[in-house]
């Protein structure tokens, strides 16, 4: 593994600034991306949909939430409640992200309405407008970590490490997301949102924002009426005290890796994880594989990984191992934002497709 160096100019990560025009001019928007070759018959097998795994996991997910919430309520005021809500919080405030993600892709279940219902529930939990974020994520897949195009770049350069640390307790994420929902509920959408949400979808986005805001405000009213924080521990609160796992695994997806490239092996990271984290995360630890083939359901990603791993940089062997790599790069990026991790491919892999992206696309002019 090596750190590649380049000099850097400060970048505008908005979708309506000069970087957006630059990405289009350089052919980085809606571009052709590198894919590992997989025979069509094998790919069809990997893409095959079924309801079974996601029904099992969803029943388990919602069942565990019901059990831990009940346990927490019944033991409220004792130390046991802390234990129950520690588990409930992660199920609500972290597992929601992967359910939102997979059901948003429409790959978790074969039956479409199941994807739609779980997507709505998870969107509520994760405090995301279910309409606008569907379009946001489509753009993330079209233009993954293309500056000026991708609205979901989690770690911008130079990275603000204190802010990233606070994200583990939902700050300022929760405030920002709720503010966006409030704004959407009032019919207001920013220029970035309007860049990726079709105008025809705005009315639906407003309706869902109003529903989500109303439920949360309802929980606040009940909390005041009962003079108890318990309603907010059950609704909304887990997005603060239980979100740490979502951030823990989410930052690894692209953190410290390249910007403005058209080969997911350069800008995404796969990490071997423990089975509990993989269940919470629905196998999105195979993130290079997911970006390369987003039609493959979460339950088939381990098989996809086995199939194409010889064409990918080696997956990090654990979460701590991946953090060791990423944090070193992020610390360095604070002062030298042009640095990024360029991982060594195994000899069996096809070379990085540097030709697909403009070699000059990594910023190279020193900051003024």
């Amino acid at each position: 593994m090596a750190l590649a160096e380049s000099t850097y100019e400060k970048r505008d990560y908005s979708l309506t600034g000069p970087e957006a025009d630059r990405a289009i001019e350089r052919g980085l928007a809606s571009a052709e991306w590198y894919h590992t070759d997989i025979p069509r018959k094998v790919m069809k097998g990997l893409m095959r949909r079924s309801d079974g795994p996601a029904i099992r996991d969803t029943v388990l997910w919602l069942g565990l939430m019901a059990v831990t919430a009940t346990g927490g309520v019944l033991t409220w005021g004792t130390g046991w409640a802390v234990v129950f809500f520690a588990v409930y919080g992660v199920l609500y405030g972290s597992a929601c992200d992967s359910r939102w993600h997979e059901c948003g892709h429409g790959t978790a279940f074969k039956t479409e309405w199941m994807n739609d219902y779980v997507y709505l529930i998870a969107s509520f939990m994760v405090l995301r407008n279910p309409v606008s974020w569907r379009w946001s994520h489509a753009r993330h897949h079209t233009d993954t970590i293309i500056v000026g195009r991708d609205p979901e770049i989690a770690v911008m350069r130079p990275p603000d490490l204190a802010r990233k640390a606070l994200a583990f307790v939902g700050i300022p994420d929760v405030v920002q997301h709720f503010a966006i929902l409030m704004r959407n509920a009032m019919g207001r959408f920013g220029p970035d949102e309007r860049d990726y949400i079709p105008a025809s979808e705005i009315p639906r986005a407003i309706v869902w924002a109003r529903i989500f805001v109303a439920i949360h405000l309802g929980a606040v009213i009940v909390a005041f009426a009962t003079w108890s924080i318990l309603p907010l521990v059950l609704i909304g609160g887990p997005r603060i005290y239980g979100t740490w796992h979502m951030v823990l695994v989410g930052l690894l997806q692209h953190g410290g890796l390249a910007e403005d490239v058209l080969d997911h092996r350069l800008n995404s990271r796969s990490v071997h994880m423990n089975p509990v984290s993989r269940w919470i995360y629905w196998n999105m630890n195979y993130h290079v594989e997911h970006h390369m083939f987003p039609m493959v359901p979460y339950h088939a990603l381990p098989a996809l990984h086995e199939l194409i791993k010889d064409d990918l940089p080696p997956a990090n062997r654990s979460i701590p191992h991946a953090y060791g790599e990423m944090i070193r790069a992020l610390i360095r990026q604070r002062h030298e934002p042009g640095y990024f991790i360029r991982r060594t491919l195994p000899p069996t892999a096809r070379p990085y497709r540097e030709d697909l992206h403009d070699a000059a696309s990594v910023p190279r002019t020193p900051a003024a």
């Binding site: 809606s30 069809k44 479409e112 569907r134 379009w135 987003p294 039609m295």
Partner: protein, 103 residues
């Protein structure tokens, strides 16, 4: 009236699958349903310029490989966002052991 154009061998497409067919500077997708009928649509997703032939055929639908937008490949109807604009469809038929399309 357009003429029928020879596109490919019938056996070139598996049941419930799709292949890409390029003709005269345009690209199309040709489908074979579970019942053995054949269909033809434009080859690129109406959301973004992605070849549908790399996607997944499931019952009467084709799912785009990039963003999972879905269309009914028999009618061209867009069924799932981010696909919002319908696909153009074209007549297709089996002639002996060949598939012909009228485009």
């Amino acid at each position: 009236m357009s003429t029928w154009i020879d596109a490919c061998a019938y056996d070139a497409i598996e049941e419930e699958d799709v292949i890409r067919f390029d003709h005269d500077g345009r690209t199309f997708a040709i489908y074979r349903s579970l019942s053995g009928d054949v269909f033809c649509t434009d080859g690129l997703c109406t959301h973004e310029q992605v070849h549908l032939a790399d996607g997944l055929v499931l019952d009467d639908t084709i799912e785009c490989p990039k963003h999972n937008g879905r269309f009914n490949y028999k009618t061209g109807a867009a069924l799932r966002t981010p696909a919002c604009v319908n696909l153009a469809t074209y007549p297709a038929r089996v002639n002996g052991d060949r598939i012909e399309v009228q485009i």
